[in-house]
């Protein structure tokens, strides 16, 4: 029945948004992490007065600047794409979703972009203290910016603090603080920014390692590694903790996504965590191509239950439980949710008709039905076959596991680097210096995987349970979106190539030599 939707338009719109988001997310995490690393380095310069620290700060600032520009370029597109490609969404939840975007502009983005001028051009124009303050404000502004964007994203995954208004046919905010401080918002913000700080540290260590391998700028490289490794160790430990917090929030609020993380089809008590697994390429359920069994897996008994609810024997619902229902554990079948969703949508239509006709009694009756069933509103857009409610399990499983495995690896890596630095062996630790360079693409892989996990795992919802992605899309011809998708792909790829070439050249040139200012 969902075949009646224009899936070409929906898929290309999703593709365009994903393309923009993934390109944006290549540049932003480095900006977030590098901002604080630069601020720490400049603080040491101001404290010690050692000009070598100034040179170190300036070199990383140049890398920051190259990234910042292209991050900004891709960021503006994301903001406006909510309107251009997801116009129905923009009205349905704009009353809530628009606020964090506006606050981001007023409170954070201006802070960042205003003081960045001082950071880059103010060395000879303002005092050392004012310059340092500006550098910290840029770092702080970037993270504050991330806060509001992630609050908006978290709200889509866990809509809270709002009420549906049938007169305006949209959701309206009733509690700003609930939106800002929802567990999903807090977990998403802390996990995303800490993982970005981690990425910044990995990049600094990797580039510095290259200098050590080339036996160039060794003092610069060692000092950069010390700052980045300490920063990285702290933030990677925080990333693991916030990751655990995120898992608990998702297990509670997005059980289908959580089941997809682990490819868990049949719920159980004391559910095991799949440490390593390979998913079959062919569906095990002929009716649902997203359901694929494992060809091979190594499990840690009971650990998934613990990860979700801090209880080794807790019940974790699988995909099948969420689809077919599980009476024992109070899980409603998807088909029933679809029926309730249809009741809610029909009631909204009746409400509108009754209001137009001035029939108050019928209007009140329709409103009551709508309110009783509203939590399932989005299910009403699906046909009788609930299979479309299952996200792409293999993709979610792999991206989740890549992210987690690499997260733990980075924690270990930072600790090893610090030990090597402490023992003054870092310059000669060739294997670890090479690993440091290899870690740079791995950090980006982990970072992108995190977003794939979050965004693919929540499908088919653009707003959990309330609006499916297919209903959010703008009323456009798919050819228009295909055209802009291709244009974005060409432009972003060209800019990425330019950025990488500039970056490599800047790194190759290295920091200004000693004796320079």
């Amino acid at each position: 029945m969902t075949e009646a939707f224009d899936f070409s338009l929906i898929d290309w719109s999703r593709g365009q948004f994903a393309l923009t988001a993934m390109y944006h997310w290549i540049f932003v995490p480095l900006t977030l992490g590098l901002g604080f690393i630069i601020a720490i380095m400049e603080s040491i310069y101001v404290k010690t007065g050692d000009p070598a620290w100034k040179r170190i700060t300036k070199f990383w600032m140049t890398i920051f600047g190259i990234n910042f520009a292209i991050g900004v370029a891709t960021g503006i597109i994301l903001e406006f794409e909510f309107g251009t490609n997801w116009s129905n969404y923009s009205w349905f939840v704009g009353d809530i979703f628009g606020a964090p975007l506006a606050i981001e502009g007023i409170m954070a983005f201006f802070l960042e972009t205003t003081f960045i001028a001082v950071m880059f051009f103010g060395w000879n124009k303002v005092s050392k203290g004012f310059h340092l303050l500006s550098t910290w404000l840029v770092a702080f502004g970037a993270s504050l910016s991330a806060l509001w964007i992630l609050v908006a994203n978290a709200w889509m995954q866990m809509p809270v603090g709002m009420k549906f208004n049938p007169d305006t046919a949209r959701n309206e905010m009733v509690n700003f603080w609930e939106v800002l401080f929802s567990p999903m918002a807090m977990s998403k913000f802390t996990h995303t920014i800490s993982s970005s700080y981690l990425l910044g540290a990995i990049v600094v260590i990797g580039i510095s390692a290259w200098f050590l391998l080339k036996k160039r700028h060794q003092v610069f490289a060692k000092r950069s590694i010390v700052v980045a490794a300490v920063f990285g160790l702290v933030t990677s430990a925080f990333t693991v903790l916030t990751g655990d917090f995120s898992a608990k929030v998702i297990a509670k609020n997005q059980p289908m996504k959580f089941a997809a993380f682990e490819g868990l089809y049949h719920g159980q008590r004391g559910a095991p965590l799949v440490a390593i697994g390979v998913v079959s390429t062919s569906p095990s359920d002929p009716e649902n191509e997203n359901i694929k069994d494992f060809v091979f897996k190594i499990e840690i008994p009971n650990f998934l239950s613990y990860m979700a609810f801090s209880d080794f024997n807790a019940f974790i619902p699988g995909v099948k439980d969420l689809m077919e229902g599980n009476e024992e554990h109070g899980i409603m079948p998807a088909a029933e949710k679809i029926s309730k969703g249809k009741l809610a949508i029909d009631a909204l239509a009746e409400y509108k008709q009754a209001k137009a006709a001035g029939n108050m009694a019928k209007q009140a009756e329709a409103q009551q039905i709508l309110e009783e069933n509203f939590e399932y509103f989005g299910y009403g857009y699906f046909g009788t076959n609930p299979d479309h409610l299952v996200p792409n399990v293999p993709l979610t499983f792999y991206s989740f596991h890549i992210m987690v495995a690499l997260g733990f690896w980075f924690l270990l890596f930072f600790a090893i680097v610090l030990v090597l630095v402490y023992r003054e062996r870092i310059s000669n630790a060739r294997f670890w210096l090479i690993m440091a360079i290899v870690n740079i693409p791995l950090a980006y892989l982990a970072s992108q995987s995190g977003w794939v996990t979050a965004e693919m795992g929540r499908q088919p919802w653009v707003i959990q349970d309330l609006m499916p992605t297919m209903t959010a899309v703008s009323h456009l011809d798919s050819n228009a979106v295909i055209t802009t998708f291709i244009l974005f792909a060409v432009v972003f790829t060209t800019l990425l190539i330019a950025e990488l070439k500039i970056m490599f050249k800047t790194i190759k040139n290295g920091p200004k030599t000693e004796g320079g200012n």
């Binding site: 939707f5 600047g65 190259i66 520009a69 292209i70 891709t74 960021g75 503006i76 903001e79 909510f82 309107g83 251009t84 490609n85 116009s87 129905n88 923009s90 009205w91 349905f92 704009g94 628009g98 606020a99 975007l101 506006a102 606050i103 502009g105 007023i106 409170m107 983005f109 201006f110 802070l111 972009t113 205003t114 003081f115 001028a117 001082v118 051009f121 060395w123 124009k125 303002v126 046919a169 309206e172 905010m173 009733v174 700003f176 029909d346 239509a349 509108k352 857009y381 009323h475 456009l476 228009a480 802009t484 060209t494 800019l495 330019a498 950025e499 070439k501 500039i502 050249k505 200012n517």
Partner: protein
């Protein structure tokens, strides 16, 4: 404080905030104007570098204002966001592409191994300047001349066809260029941005050769600006405008609506006239007396004029986004706004705006305390 306001008061308050941001954006388009004059004012590599470095220290402000303008519109009038952005798809997409290529051009242009060559990035800056100003101006023109869209909130209950806002032409916004009045505003902003660009450059760069060329360029751009601006304003004030009944929301056409708005809101009329005079004074002060602070006269005047135009587009029972497809589908500040709660919450956020203006002022003074000259490009600072 904001909780006690009536919904209409909050809607008006937020239209004023949107107008401030819109007016600030028009003023800050001096960056776009300057970008189009790099080769007209700079004949040597050093001169061009000085111009680009002068503009490059401000491009983020224009960019951030555009982002905040979009975000604030989304938060306060989400129906406009969904209707205009989702409908006039091609117009907004072209504008967005023009801004992508601006953001990287400053940073990448002078870098070694930059893949596309410095000249390409300079062309990008020109494209951003020309396309950005003309299309944003033309899009704002539709606030006064309307656009072909429909809005039906009941559509959300239609399972397979739930789009609330629909564009009613296959050109998705590009048809706005067929209305000359829209284009006249676009061209007025195009030439105004160039006028402001000239005045900003002479305000911030200490170079005799550039100053001499600037005088000529000022004249070449001020004349067409005045022609297009006067045409736009006279036609606007004499045309039938869009109005609505605040009680039942019925939209109708009213003779001299925008002139009436100025007369019925005398403060806005005073701001408008003061703005126009200041722009003219700014142009004259530099052309005749070479006063480098003329930028602030013309810039201030631009802000006041644009602010007034935004106000008469949306206040005094005026639909700010009229529908030519069905007059009753037109967007007003009353039928397209966020809820009382959201506008209240955002009202508190808006109190940060003066703080933002204050620190922008401090930083502007700190960075622009000395005019750029050739020697500054050799200093050990970040150079574009």
């Amino acid at each position: 404080m904001f909780e006690t306001f009536q919904l209409l008061t909050l809607q008006q308050y937020w239209w004023i905030i949107i107008s401030i941001l819109g007016a600030a954006l028009v003023f800050l388009m001096f960056v776009q104007g300057g970008q189009m004059l790099i080769y007209n004012l700079g004949k040597t590599k050093t001169e061009r570098s000085m111009i680009i470095n002068s503009l490059g220290r401000k491009w983020e402000l224009t960019f951030t204002t555009l982002v905040t303008f979009g975000g604030a519109f989304f938060a306060s009038f989400p129906l406009f966001y969904s209707t205009s952005f989702g409908g006039a798809y091609w117009v907004w997409m072209i504008i967005l592409f023009a801004f992508i290529i601006q953001a990287i051009s400053y940073e990448f242009r002078a870098k070694e191994n930059n893949f596309l060559s410095a000249r390409t990035y300079e062309v990008f800056l020109f494209i951003n300047g020309a396309v950005g100003t003309i299309l944003i101006g033309t899009a704002v023109g539709t606030f006064f001349n309307g656009a072909m869209f429909s809005v039906d909130k009941a559509n959300i209950a239609q399972v397979f066809d739930s789009a609330i806002s629909r564009w009613q032409t296959p050109f998705h916004g590009l048809e706005a260029v067929l209305t000359f009045h829209n284009v006249a505003l676009g061209l007025a902003i195009f030439f105004l941005s160039r006028v402001l660009g000239v005045l900003y450059i002479v305000n911030t760069i200490d170079d005799e050769a550039i100053s001499q060329r600037a005088t000529k360029q000022l004249l070449y751009n001020a004349i067409p600006f005045l022609v297009f601006f006067l045409y736009f304003v006279i036609a606007l004030l004499l045309k039938k405008g869009f109005a609505y009944d605040p009680v039942n929301g019925i939209v109708f056409m009213e003779k001299f609506k925008y002139l009436n708005n100025l007369i019925q809101m005398p403060i806005v009329m005073i701001m408008f006239l003061a703005g126009v005079v200041l722009v003219l004074v700014g142009i004259a002060r530099y052309y005749f007396n070479k006063k480098t602070n003329s930028f602030w006269f013309a810039g201030g005047g631009t802000f006041l004029t644009a602010f007034s135009l935004f106000l008469i587009a949306g206040l005094n029972n005026t639909p700010y986004y009229p529908s030519l497809f069905n007059l009753q589908h037109s967007l007003t500040i009353q039928n397209s706004s966020s809820s009382h709660y959201t506008l209240t919450a955002m009202g508190y956020v808006s109190l940060f705006v003066p703080v933002v203006i204050a620190y922008i002022y401090v930083v502007w003074r700190a960075i622009n305390n000395k005019r750029i000259d050739k020697s500054e490009l050799d200093e050990d600072i970040h150079v574009y």
